[in-house]
């Protein structure tokens, strides 16, 4: 057999390169949008704002409001959601040893949809740190669904992988159809049908910086926790029995991974609805660059996911002005062909 001794680029170099890519995407996405703003204006605006410089405004007050209060939070939100979805994808693919696993695998898509639909239905009027009821209930729905799946799959203290997958699929399906049922039962919800489905298609919805603060903390903590579990995740890829023989406390680490994954997915859903594809696609792409070891895979995938979603969101905002296209459509259109190309290029039989 021919020796394929391909070398891999060193981890820190990849992380550095991806960070630069992310920063470039953020700048690019901040500079463009449905509204044309001149880049030199933006630079002067930013210097005024951040460093107290005193440039004379060559722009309208609307432009400044658009840039700082509307566009920047949106771009930052896209980065956070992308990072959260990609990391959750890595965690679930590692946990479930299944290349088709994504952040929504364990019942989350149904749970979040049901929570969101209830949020639309109950027309409550509280806000928490800038989050309206729909994202909060979606977040709660995601977590509840995931713990339901784990409880259902648990037999005698252990939760076998295949059972988790099947239970996740079933719970998601049941909850998803419950949403449709709710729509039939409730008149008022039917009036809001396009909005409900639009939200389900996914779209970054950030209005307050406080939302970003909370989300950033949650995603940061969960991502950090996931990274601390990197050895467990590596060992789990050899099978649960081998992982245990290598010293991993398999059941408790599995539980931790599920909790962290659900926090990441919940935060992503609260900020952006059910954005698909990023959580599936970013881990696979990153794996071809840095390999399957989670030490590098987890942070790199987060960077890839963030950059990808920032650019997809830019397209969502700017491709059909002034209409806003749901970003879930674009993640599929942009990521899909690239992913297919990647699969063909690899040509090895694909095993996770």
């Amino acid at each position: 057999m021919a020796a394929r001794a391909a070398r891999r680029p060193p981890g820190p170099l990849v992380l550095g390169g991806l960070s630069v890519l992310l920063v470039a995407s953020l700048l690019f996405a901040a500079a463009f949008g449905a509204v044309q703003l001149r880049p030199d204006d933006l630079v002067r605006m930013t210097l005024n704002h951040l460093f107290g410089a005193r440039f004379e405004p060559t722009w309208r007050p609307q432009d400044e409001a658009i840039f700082f209060a509307i566009r920047l939070p949106r771009v930052a939100g896209a980065a956070i959601v992308g990072a959260a979805l990609a990391s959750a994808g890595v965690l679930f693919q590692g946990l479930l040893r299944n290349p088709l696993a994504d952040p929504y695998a364990l019942g989350v898509s149904g749970g979040a949809a049901l929570g969101g639909a209830l949020g639309f239905l109950l027309s409550l009027s509280f806000t928490f740190l800038g989050f309206s009821p729909v994202p909060i209930l979606a977040f709660a729905g995601a977590l509840i669904a995931m713990s339901l799946v784990y409880t259902l799959a648990r037999v005698g203290g252990r939760a076998p992988i295949v059972t988790l997958l099947l239970a996740g699929f079933a719970v998601s399906a049941i909850m998803g159809y419950a949403v449709s049922f709710l729509l039939i039962l409730n008149d008022r919800l039917q009036l809001n049908l396009p909005r409900v489905y639009g939200w389900l298609l996914g779209g970054i919805s950030v209005t307050q910086w406080s939302q970003l603060g909370l989300a950033l903390i949650m995603v940061g903590v969960a991502l950090g926790g996931g990274w601390l579990l990197r050895h467990s995740l590596d060992a789990l890829s050899l099978g649960e029995e081998s992982a245990q023989q290598l010293g991993i406390a398999v059941e408790s680490d599995k539980r931790l991974v599920i909790v962290l994954g659900s926090i990441l997915t919940g935060a992503a859903v609260a900020l952006g609805g059910l954005i698909g594809f990023v959580g599936l696609f970013a881990p696979h792409v990153t794996r071809t660059i840095v390999g399957p070891r989670h030490t590098w895979l987890l942070p790199a995938a987060a960077l890839v996911g963030a950059a990808f979603l920032v650019l997809a969101d830019l397209l969502a905002r700017a491709i059909l002005p002034p209409t806003e296209v749901p970003v879930g459509i674009l993640t599929a259109f942009v990521g899909g062909p690239f992913f297919l190309w990647l699969l063909r290029r690899e040509r090895r039989e694909y095993r996770l």
Binding site: G33, A34, V35, R60, P61, Q62, D63, E64, A65, I66, F68, A69, I70, R71, P73, R74, F120, S123, S132, V134, L183, I184, D187, R188, Q190, L191, N192, L193, P194, R195, G198, W199, G203, S205, V206, T207, Q208, R317, P321, P322, T323, E324
Partner: protein, 369 residues
């Protein structure tokens, strides 16, 4: 019964307007007596019955006599039926038909989502079924049972008037229909005339702000857009392809509307108030926000294809050009907004007759001064 409301100015112009109005009404009545190509809905025959009507989907139905058992599947069609005095002939309506208040007590109430129960409708043995948006396959099934179905979906003001007249012919209430039509067209023309030479403010009409950073807004087509145009405003989203679109907040702020109309003020979900809109990040630089020109309204008036459409137009025109409609006092302005009693459950109480009468009498007093 022609309404006695009119927008009179303190000027000799009012006489000229009166003459013009009468002439217009005569012309309209003449137009109605002679069918034209622009009225696909009403193709009348020399004697009213037997009557063949072609609905908006191109399918004809023949009626030997005015229908006595009517089923409507849309609130607008229900309203028209009541306005033409045929409300007592309704044997079933859809669950959303709540105006006029008598409509709420019509039983049974049919669900139309995701599709109506063909069995139930057929079982009611109606003489005619009126639909706006149901699927053609479902309606075809009803027709196959020998029940005529009229699918009427007027897309603009004129089409709405034609629909009212067609139904008037069908119900044998042509006089009432013509009166309503004349009134609507008359008042519409009055509005157009009143705002003809006024500067057209930039208008942003919001339909749903469940996600405040990308709300659903009114485009140029459909009732929302047409009313803005007729009322003398410029829709800042006149470049959208359809009648509704979802747009980013960036673009709204950039296009800097001078007036904001909140038709989502009485939605059951995420109803918006002017305070909420003013508090949206980045919106404080918008002219409408700075001038406190954010008006919550009842969306139903602006979009239901029925006789109240003219009321929506008049109210919108008054909001956009208060100076052209006898500068209202602060009290009256509050009355226009508050009189709608925006309630969270989607019900609203239109200006009561008394309040309307009061405003009218105030106006009368002003004119006589």
């Amino acid at each position: 019964m022609r309404s006695s409301r009119s927008f009179r100015k303190i000027s000799p112009m009012c006489c000229a307007l009166r003459v013009a109005r009468s002439a217009l009404c005569c012309a309209l009545v003449a137009l109605l007596l002679f069918p034209t190509q622009a009225a696909p809905v009403a193709r009348a025959q020399p004697s009213p019955f037997p009557l063949t009507l072609t609905d908006d989907s191109g399918i004809s139905a023949t009626f030997a006599a005015p229908p006595l058992r009517i089923v409507t599947l849309n609130p607008g069609l229900t309203e028209i039926t009541f306005a033409l005095g045929a409300g007592s002939r309704l044997i079933a309506v859809d669950t959303y038909s709540e105006f006029p208040p008598e409509a709420k007590s019509v039983q049974p109430r049919l669900t139309t989502y995701p599709s109506p129960s063909v069995e139930t409708i057929v079982g009611l043995k109606p003489d005619v079924v009126l639909s706006l948006a149901e699927r053609d396959e479902d309606l075809a099934q009803i027709r196959r049972q020998g029940i005529p179905v009229l699918k009427l979906f007027p897309k603009d003001f004129d089409a709405t008037v034609h629909t009212i007249q067609a139904l008037g012919k069908l119900y044998g209430a042509s006089d009432a229909a013509d009166a309503i039509a004349a009134d609507m067209l008359d008042r519409r023309d009055a509005v157009i005339a009143a705002v003809a030479d006024a500067p057209r403010p930039r208008v942003y009409e919001e339909l749903d702000a469940s996600e405040p950073d990308k709300p659903f807004v009114a485009g140029p087509k459909g009732f929302y857009g047409e009313l803005i145009d007729l009322a003398g405003g410029t829709n800042i989203f006149g470049d959208l392809p359809g009648d509704v679109g979802q747009v980013g907040a960036e673009t709204i702020v950039q296009r800097d509307p001078e007036v904001i109309i909140l038709t989502d003020a009485d939605l059951p979900f995420n109803p918006q108030t002017p305070e909420m809109v003013a508090a949206r990040p980045g919106w404080d630089v918008v002219t409408a926000v700075a001038n406190d020109a954010i008006y919550p309204v009842s969306g139903q008036l602006y979009s239901t294809p029925g006789p109240r459409l003219i009321q929506g137009l008049e109210d919108l025109a008054r909001l956009l050009h208060p100076d052209r409609f006898n500068s209202l006092s602060l009290w009256e302005r509050a009355g226009v907004r508050g009189g709608y009693e925006i309630k969270r459950l989607g019900r609203y109480a239109p200006l009561t007759r008394a309040a309307r009468g009061l405003i009218h009498s105030q106006r009368e007093r002003r004119i006589s001064l």
